[in-house]
C-alpha cells in the first residue's frame, strides 16, 4: 500500500526595516545584547506599540508577489504565552484578518527521471507579527540570560496550503519563495542569522482519502534540513501506519546530527493562545491606492526574468530557471553577457566551472575573485579559438587564485591554441607511426580508435592543439 504525503510549510521571514515593527529601536544584526531596545520592545509597563509603516508596505509587497488578496482592513491580535523571550507575555500578531491571504506560488520540480514538473502551491496567508527575543545559555554558569535585540523585529509568516506532496517539492518551494523575497528586497533570507525560519506540517494518507493526522516539525535550520526532516517523517509515519499504529498529533524537533525527528510536545500540551484583538492598535483601512502604488513599484520577479532569459538569451527554460533562482547568480550572468559573449557558453561556464570553484572555497558569487568581466574575457578566448575549452578549464582556477585576466595567463604560459595546420600534420604523422595497431583498429571500422589518436595528439601538443582541427587532420590522414 502506498501513501501520499501531505505537507504544508510555515515560513517566518524577518522584514528588512531600519526600525522594529512597533517602535523606533534598531534592527541591526549582531549588536551588543539588549542594545537595540526601547520601552516598547522591552514590554515595559505603560509602553504602547505604534505600527511601522515601512513594515506594512513590505508585507503588502510580499502579498502581491505571492498573488494574495490584500486585506481591506488592517487588524492586529494578541497571542498569549509565557516565555522569558516574550517580554509582554503576548506577541502582537494577526489572527483572523491577515494582511494577505489566498495566493499561490509556482514551483518547478525535477523528478528522478529528470523530467521537470510545474506545481502551483497555494498560499493560505502571509501575516505580520513581531519577533521574540533570544535566550542565552552558553557560557553562563548560573541561569539564563535574555537578549531582547530581536524582540519586536517585523516578521511575515507565510503559510502554505497543504499542497506539497514530496520533500523535493518542499525544497523547491522554499527556494522559489526565497528567490521572490530576495527579488523584492524585503529580506536577506539568511537562515544562519535567523532571518528566515521554517516549520513543516507533515501527514500521510491513502491517495484521495481524508487528511491524516499531522505532526509539526520545528528546529529546521536549512532548506536541506527541511527536505531531510520531511523524508524522515514520511518514512516514520508510513512505518507506523503499516504497523497498525496511529500517528499522534504533536510537535517534533528535527535533530540534525541524528537525522531524526523527536517528540517535543503533544497536542494536549499545546498553548491556548487566547487570541483577542489588540486594543492598543486601532484597525484601519488599507487604501487601495497604496496597494496599487506598491503593485506598480514591484521589481521584475523570478518568473518574468526566467522568461526574459529564455527568450533574449536563447537558454533552455530549465537553465534560465536555475540562474534566476539565485538573484546574484542571475545578475552575474547578465553582467557577463553584456560583454557580448555567447549566453549559452556563459550560462554553462558559470553554472558548472565557476560554481564548483565558489562552492569549494565557500565564497558567495558577489565576492567571486573572477569578475563577470573576467569571466567574459575567458569565454571570448574560447569563442575566438585562442584556447580550447580544456585549456580554459585550467585557466579559470588560476584566474580564481590570482585575480589575473584569462588573456594574461594564456599569454604568459604560452597556452595559445595551436591552429598551425602544418605543425599539427607533423605531429599527426608521428602519432600514426607510433600507434600502428590502433590505426589498424580504426581502419577495421573501430571508430573509437580515432578518439585515442586525437588524445595522443593533444598530449604531444600539451593540450594546446585545436581539438577540432586535430580531429580533421587525423581523419584525413587515415582515410
Amino acid at each position: 500500500m502506498s501513501y501520499e504525503p501531505v505537507i504544508g510549510l510555515e515560513v517566518h521571514v524577518q522584514l528588512d526595516t531600519k526600525s522594529k515593527l512597533f517602535c523606533p529601536a534598531s534592527t541591526v544584526f549582531g549588536a551588543e545584547p539588549n542594545r537595540n531596545t526601547s520601552p516598547v520592545s522591552l514590554g515595559l509597563p505603560g509602553s504602547l506599540p505604534v505600527l511601522n509603516e515601512a513594515a506594512l508596505k513590505l508585507a503588502i509587497k510580499v502579498g502581491i508577489a505571492l498573488n494574495c488578496h490584500v486585506a481591506e482592513r488592517l487588524k492586529f491580535d494578541r497571542k498569549h504565552y509565557f516565555y522569558p523571550d516574550l517580554p509582554k507575555a503576548y506577541q502582537i500578531s494577526q489572527y483572523d484578518m491577515p494582511v494577505n491571504k489566498g495566493g499561490w506560488l509556482d514551483i518547478e520540480v525535477k523528478d528522478e527521471k529528470g523530467v521537470v514538473h510545474n506545481r502551483k502551491i497555494g498560499i493560505t496567508r502571509a501575516h505580520l507579527e513581531e519577533d521574540a527575543g533570544k535566550l542565552l545559555h552558553e557560557g553562563i554558569k548560573d541561569g539564563t540570560l535574555v537578549d531582547y535585540n530581536r524582540a519586536g523585529i517585523p516578521l511575515i509568516e507565510i503559510v502554505s496550503e497543504p499542497d506539497i506532496r514530496t520533500a523535493d517539492e518542499a525544497y523547491e518551494y522554499l527556494k522559489a519563495l526565497k528567490a521572490i523575497l530576495q527579488y523584492l528586497e524585503v529580506s536577506d533570507c539568511n537562515m544562519e542569522e535567523g532571518s528566515l525560519r521554517c516549520d513543516a506540517n507533515v501527514s500521510i494518507r491513502k491517495p484521495g482519502a481524508e487528511f491524516g493526522t499531522k505532526t509539526e516539525i520545528k528546529n529546521l535550520n536549512s532548506f536541506r534540513a527541511v527536505q531531510k526532516a520531511i523524508q524522515y517523517e514520511i518514512k516514520r509515519q508510513t512505518e507506523m501506519v503499516e504497523n497498525g499504529e496511529r500517528v499522534i498529533q504533536e510537535t517534533r524537533l528535527w535533530n540534525e546530527p541524528k537525522g531524526q525527528t523527536v517528540k517535543m510536545r503533544s497536542k494536549e500540551e499545546a498553548h491556548d493562545y487566547r487570541y483577542f484583538p489588540e486594543p492598543d492598535l486601532v484597525p484601519f483601512t488599507i487604501a487601495r491606492s497604496l496597494v496599487q502604488e506598491i503593485q506598480a513599484s514591484l521589481p521584475e520577479l523570478p518568473a518574468a526574468r526566467t522568461e526574459r532569459f529564455r527568450k533574449n538569451y536563447d537558454l533552455s527554460h530549465y537553465d534560465a530557471h536555475v540562474l534566476v533562482q539565485e538573484k546574484t547568480l542571475a545578475n552575474y550572468f547578465e553582467a557577463c553577457v553584456e560583454k557580448k559573449v555567447s549566453p549559452k557558453l556563459a550560462s554553462n561556464w558559470i553554472q558548472s566551472e565557476l560554481m564548483a570553484l565558489l562552492n569549494e572555497k565557500k565564497i558567495e558569487i558577489e565576492a567571486s575573485p573572477v569578475t563577470p568581466e573576467g569571466m567574459a574575457g575567458l569565454i571570448q578566448l574560447i569563442e575566438k579559438d585562442t584556447i580550447s575549452g580544456k585549456i580554459a578549464k585550467d585557466v579559470l582556477p588560476q584566474m580564481f587564485e590570482t585575480g589575473r585576466s584569462a588573456e594574461e595567463i594564456v599569454r604568459e604560459k604560452g597556452l595559445v591554441q595551436v591552429t598551425d595546420t602544418k605543425l599539427l600534420e607533423e605531429v599527426a604523422d608521428r602519432v600514426i607511426a607510433a600507434n600502428p595497431s590502433v590505426v589498424q583498429d580504426f581502419r577495421n571500422g573501430k571508430a573509437q580508435a580515432l578518439g585515442f589518436l586525437v588524445g595522443q595528439l593533444m598530449k604531444e601538443t600539451k593540450g594546446k592543439a585545436n581539438p577540432k582541427l586535430a580531429n580533421q587532420i587525423l581523419t584525413q590522414k587515415l582515410s
Binding site: 514590554g43 515595559l44 509597563p45 505603560g46 504602547l48 507575555a89 535574555v146 491556548d272 483577542f276 486594543p279
Partner: protein
C-alpha cells in the same frame, strides 16, 4: 484680606502665586501638610521633598502636581500599589508627565490607589488603605482614592488619576472634589500602566471645575506614541467655561434613578437638575436601556484586557521576583506572592473569558453589548447635549464593608462604567452632603470630544451650588 493658607489654594490661584515667585512657599506649605496628614490618610505612597522633580517656568512655574502611582515618571519608582512592581524604576516619562514637566510642574509624589486600579475603595493597595478625609472610617473610593483624598485634604493642589470604570469620578464623588474622565483618545495613555486598554483614560482630579479645565489643557492632545490617541482639535477648555447654559438640553436617564440609588443622592441630583433649569437649561428624561448590562459587560471585557496586560509581570525583567529553581516555578511563585487577591481574581476571570471555547460566549458577546451601550448614548445625544445623573449609587462606605463581597463592590461603579464603555467624557462634581456629612457627587456626561460643554455646565452648576468651598475638618 487674610492670606489664604497656601496649601488650600486652587490650581488657578497657585499658578498666580507661582507666577510671582511663590512656588517655593507653596511647596513648603504642602510638605508640612503632607507630613501632618499622610500618616492618617495614607494618600501618598511616595513623597520625598528632596527628590521632587522641580519644575520652573512654563505656565505652572513650579506649581506642584501629584500623580497616581500608575503613571511612569523617569527615574522614579512606580508600583501601581502592587508588591509585584516593588522596585520598578521607570526609565521613561509618560506623555502626560513630559507635558507637565514642559509646563513647569513640580512632581511632588505618587498617590496611593487600588492595586493596578482594580477596585472601588482603594483598599486593595498592597501598601495600606487610604482613608476618606471627611470620615476616616470611610473609604475614599477608588481606584484613584489617593488622588481624591489628597486633593480633598489640601495635600495636593491638583492631581492626576486614571479612570477605567469610574476610578476618577467615583473617588472624586466620595471625597467631595472634581474629577474628569476625558473622551477615550483625548489624553495619551503612553506611560499609563495599562488596566483595560480600550477603557483607560488619564484625567484631572481638582478642587474646582476650572482647575480641571486648566489641567486638561496641559495634558490633552494627540500623541503619535499612542495609536489610540485621537488627532482631534484641541480647544482651550478654560475659554468657554463661563458661557451660560441657556438652551442646553440636559437629559436625566431613567435607568439611573432606580432602586438601589441612595435617596439622599437622588434628591441632590434632582435639585441640581432644577438649578440647571433655573439657569436656563432644558431638562428632559432620556433612556439608556442597556445600563443594566454595563457592569456585567465591563467585568468581562475590561478584565480580559487586564489579564493580558498583566502577563508581563512575570519576574523576568523588573519588579519583584520570587526565588525559584525552574522557570515555571518562578512564574507561579512570583505571581502568587506578587499579586493581591483582587488582581488574581481579575486575572483568572479575564483568562477564562478569553480561553478557547469561551471567547465567543463572553468576550465577543461582551463587545457586542458594548456596542449597544454606545448606541444608547448616540441615540440619547441626538436629543440632548448632556446627560446628568448620580456619580455613584451610595456615598462613601465604611472601610471593610464590601471588601469580602466583590459583587456589591463592583456595583459601586454602575453609573460610571457606561461612559467608559462608550468612550465619552464624564465629569463628577460635588453637589451636596448626606445627613451624615459625606459628600455627594453628580455626573455630567457629554458627546465624544465635547469636554468643553461638560466643563461649562459643570462650572455653572458648581458656582451656583457653592458646596465646593467646603473643606473636611482635619487637624
Amino acid at each position: 484680606m487674610m492670606t489664604q493658607a497656601q496649601h488650600a489654594l486652587t490650581l488657578k490661584e497657585a499658578m498666580q502665586t507661582a507666577a510671582k515667585g511663590g512656588a517655593e512657599n507653596l511647596l513648603k506649605a504642602l510638605t508640612e501638610r503632607i507630613a501632618t496628614l499622610n500618616p492618617k490618610l495614607n494618600a501618598f505612597l511616595r513623597f520625598s521633598p528632596e527628590k521632587i522633580v522641580q519644575g520652573t517656568a512654563g505656565l505652572l512655574n513650579g506649581v506642584p502636581i501629584a500623580v497616581k502611582d500608575n503613571i511612569c515618571i523617569e527615574g522614579v519608582e512606580t508600583t501601581c500599589a502592587s508588591k509585584i512592581l516593588k522596585g520598578f524604576v521607570a526609565p521613561y516619562d509618560a506623555t502626560v508627565i513630559r507635558k507637565l514637566k514642559t509646563a513647569g510642574a513640580s512632581l511632588i509624589g505618587q498617590l496611593n490607589m487600588d492595586e493596578f486600579a482594580f477596585g472601588s475603595s482603594s483598599e486593595t493597595s498592597a501598601f495600606g488603605v487610604v482613608r476618606n478625609p471627611w470620615n476616616l472610617d470611610c473609604v475614599p473610593g477608588g481606584s484613584s482614592g489617593g488622588s481624591a483624598a489628597a486633593v480633598a485634604a489640601d495635600m495636593a493642589i491638583a492631581a492626576l488619576g486614571s479612570d477605567t470604570g469610574g476610578s476618577i469620578r467615583q473617588p472624586a464623588a466620595f471625597c467631595g472634589v472634581v474629577g474628569l474622565k476625558p473622551t477615550y483618545g483625548r489624553v495619551s495613555r503612553y506611560g499609563l500602566i495599562a488596566f483595560g486598554s480600550s477603557f483607560d483614560q488619564i484625567g484631572p482630579i481638582t478642587k474646582t471645575v476650572e482647575d480641571a479645565a486648566i489641567l486638561l489643557n496641559l495634558i490633552a492632545g494627540h500623541d503619535p506614541a499612542d495609536s489610540t490617541s485621537a488627532p482631534q482639535d484641541l480647544p482651550d477648555f478654560t475659554k468657554t467655561l463661563s458661557r451660560d447654559v441657556k438652551g442646553l438640553k440636559i437629559g436625566l436617564p431613567e435607568e439611573f434613578f432606580v432602586k438601589g440609588l441612595d435617596p439622599e443622592i437622588a434628591k441632590q441630583v434632582q435639585e441640581a437638575a432644577n438649578t440647571l433649569k433655573k439657569l436656563g437649561a432644558e431638562i428632559k428624561t432620556v433612556r439608556l436601556p442597556h445600563t443594566h448590562s454595563a457592569v456585567a459587560v465591563y467585568y468581562i471585557t475590561a478584565v480580559a484586557e487586564a489579564s493580558s496586560n498583566l502577563g508581563r509581570f512575570d519576574g523576568v525583567e523588573y519588579g519583584f521576583r520570587a526565588p525559584a529553581q525552574t522557570i515555571d516555578d518562578m512564574y507561579f511563585e512570583t505571581r502568587d506572592q506578587g499579586f493581591g487577591n483582587e488582581a488574581k481574581r481579575r486575572i483568572l476571570l479575564g483568562t477564562f473569558v478569553l480561553s478557547a471555547g469561551y471567547y465567543d460566549a463572553y468576550y465577543l458577546k461582551g463587545q457586542k453589548v458594548r456596542t449597544l451601550v454606545r448606541q444608547d448614548f448616540q441615540k440619547a445625544f441626538q436629543e440632548v447635549d448632556l446627560i446628568l445623573g448620580p456619580t455613584a449609587p451610595t456615598p462613601a462606605f465604611k472601610i471593610g464593608e464590601h471588601i469580602e463581597d466583590p459583587l456589591t463592590m463592583y456595583l459601586s461603579d454602575i453609573f460610571t462604567i457606561p461612559a467608559n464603555l462608550a468612550g465619552i467624557p464624564a465629569l463628577s462634581l460635588p453637589c451636596g452632603f448626606t445627613a451624615a456629612g459625606l459628600p455627594i457627587g453628580l455626573q455630567l456626561m457629554g458627546r465624544p470630544f465635547d469636554e468643553a460643554t461638560v466643563l461649562r455646565a459643570g462650572h455653572a452648576l458648581e458656582q451656583e451650588i457653592g458646596v465646593y468651598k467646603q473643606k473636611p475638618k482635619l487637624s
